[in-house]
C-alpha cells in the first residue's frame, strides 16, 4: 500500500524522539553536568540524542588525542629547568610540512655545539597535527598537547610558537597523558640504567687495565 514506507519511516523518527526523553527519565534530570551520565551517554550504550554542553562541559579526550606539540623540561631539585630536547633535529627532519625550526646552541667558550636548543619554533599555521615529531623523538622531549582552545584574533603575532610558549614541565605531561608518561619514564630509567652499566663496565675495564700496567 502506498505510504506504508513513509509511515514506517516516521515511526523511526518518533522512536528517536521518545528515546531522548526516556534517557532524560533514566537520569532523573541529572543528564547534564553529571560525569557518570556523561561517560555512558558518549559511549555506544547511549540512548537518544547526546549533546555535549560545550563550553560548560567538555568531551573526555582520549590519551592519544593530539593537537599542537609541546616541549618537555624536567624540574631539577635546585629549581632549574633542564630541557629534555637535545636539538638533535629529528623532529625537524621528519616534520611533513616542515614547520619546526630549531636553533642549536653553541658553547660560548669553545664554540662547539651543546645538546640543547637555544630556540625552537613551530609555525602552527602550517602544523598538520600528525604527531610524527613526537613519535620519532629519541629523547621523549616533544609530545602532543591536548589543548585545542587556542583560537586567536591575530595570527601574525601569536601563531609562531617559540620555545617559551612550547615549554611545559614534565608534571604537565604526566597530567595530560598519564599512560604515555609512564611509558616514557620507564624508557628513560632504562636508558639511565644502561648508561650506568656502560659506565661501570668502562670503569672496571679501566681498573683492570690499571692493575695490569701496575703489574
Amino acid at each position: 500500500m502506498y505510504g506504508v514506507g513513509l509511515v514506517k519511516g516516521m515511526g523511526v523518527t518518533i522512536k528517536h524522539f521518545v528515546n531522548t526523553y526516556v534517557d532524560d527519565l533514566r537520569w532523573f534530570g541529572r543528564r547534564y553536568y553529571n560525569p557518570e551520565a556523561f561517560a555512558v551517554r558518549q559511549s555506544p550504550q547511549a540512548q537518544g540524542i547526546f549533546t555535549v554542553q560545550y563550553p560548560e562541559e567538555k568531551l573526555i579526550m582520549p590519551e592519544e588525542f593530539r593537537y599542537i606539540p609541546f616541549l618537555i623540561y624536567d624540574e631539577l631539585e635546585d629549581g632549574t629547568r633542564q630541557d629534555r630536547c637535545t636539538s638533535c633535529g629529528i623532529c625537524a627532519k621528519v616534520c611533513p610540512p616542515q614547520c619546526i625550526w630549531i636553533v642549536r646552541s653553541d658553547d660560548p667558550e669553545t664554540g662547539r655545539p651543546i645538546p640543547e636548543p637555544s630556540e625552537f619554533f613551530i609555525d602552527i599555521d602550517i602544523c598538520m597535527n600528525c604527531g610524527l615529531c613526537s613519535e620519532y623523538c629519541p629523547f621523549e622531549a616533544i609530545r602532543m598537547d591536548h589543548d585545542y582552545e587556542i583560537s586567536t584574533y591575530d595570527r601574525f603575532s601569536e601563531n609562531i610558537y617559540n620555545k617559551e610558549k612550547l615549554d611545559k614541565p614534565a608534571s604537565f605531561y604526566a597530567a595530560v597523558r598519564p599512560l604515555n608518561y609512564a611509558i616514557d619514564e620507564a624508557a628513560i630509567a632504562e636508558k639511565v640504567a644502561k648508561k650506568a652499566a656502560k659506565e661501570a663496565a668502562r670503569k672496571q675495564r679501566q681498573a683492570e687495565k690499571d692493575r695490569k700496567t701496575d703489574e
Binding site: Q53, P55, D125, M128, T152, R155, N159
Partner: protein, 213 residues
C-alpha cells in the same frame, strides 16, 4: 531579558523594577547580533566535514543561535572559511565575501585557511585567506575538532561584544569599497598589486636570478 544586559549605571526607579530594563544600545545591539550569527553554508575541504559535525546533534551549533546555515551569502553574517583556499577558488571566495551584507565576519578555520597549512608550499594554494579578505578569528588545528571550532565561535562572540555601534566601519556615510576580485592569469593576479606590478616583477626576476646562482 537576560541579566547580562541590564545596565547598572542607570538605576531603575523602585516602582518600575521588574517592568522595565535600561540598557545601552551597544549592549542590546551586540547581544542580539552575537546570539543569531548565521554562518554561510560553505565548505571547502576537510574542515568542512568537522563544521558539519559541529552543526550536528553532538555539538549542536543551535545552542549558540547559529544553526541557520545559509547557502546564500546574501543571508549570512559569518563566513567560515573551512579548508584549503586555492588560487582557482579565491576569486569566488572574494565574490562571496563582497556579496555578504554588513556587518560581516570571517572565521578562518584550520591551518590551511589561516596560513596555508600543510599545503602552503603548493603551487595552487593561497597561503591564508587573510591575503584577500579580512579575518576576525583564526582557529589553528588540522582539522580543528568541533569543540575547537566552538571555541573559535565563542571568541567571535566575544569580539562582537567588544564592538561599539559608533566605531564599527559599517554605519558610516561613505560606502565601504568592495575587495577587488583576483584574476586568473598566468598565475593568480591580485588587482591591488597592479599599480606597482612592474617593480615587483623586477624584484622577482632578481630573486630568481640570485637563487639560480
Amino acid at each position: 531579558m537576560s541579566e547580562e544586559l541590564s545596565n547598572n549605571d542607570n538605576p531603575v526607579p523602585e516602582g518600575l523594577q521588574g517592568q522595565i530594563a535600561i540598557t545601552s544600545l551597544d549592549k542590546i545591539y551586540n547581544w542580539s547580533r552575537r546570539s543569531s550569527i548565521w554562518p554561510m553554508m560553505f565548505g571547502l575541504a576537510c574542515c568542512a566535514i568537522e563544521m558539519i559535525a559541529t552543526a550536528a546533534s553532538r555539538y549542536d551549533l543551535a545552542r549558540f543561535g547559529m544553526e541557520v546555515l545559509r547557502a546564500s551569502p546574501r543571508q549570512a553574517d559569518l563566513m567560515i572559511v573551512s579548508g584549503t583556499v586555492t588560487k582557482k577558488m579565491i576569486p569566488i571566495i572574494v565574490r562571496l565575501y563582497n556579496q555578504m551584507p554588513e556587518p560581516k565576519y570571517v572565521l578562518a578555520m584550520g591551518a590551511c585557511a589561516s596560513g596555508g597549512g600543510p599545503f602552503k608550499e603548493g603551487y595552487n594554494v593561497v597561503s591564508g585567506v587573510d591575503k584577500f579578505v579580512p579575518v576576525d578569528v583564526y582557529i589553528p588545528g588540522c582539522p580543528p575538532t568541533p569543540q575547537a571550532l566552538l571555541h573559535g565561535l565563542i571568541k567571535m562572540q566575544e569580539k562582537i561584544d567588544g564592538q561599539s555601534v559608533l566605531e564599527v566601519p559599517w554605519y558610516r556615510s561613505e560606502p565601504i569599497d568592495e575587495i577587488p576580485q583576483p584574476l586568473l592569469g598566468p598565475d593568480l593576479i591580485d588587482p591591488r598589486d597592479i599599480p606597482d606590478f612592474a617593480e615587483k616583477l623586477k624584484a622577482q626576476e632578481e630573486r630568481l636570478a640570485a637563487e639560480r646562482e
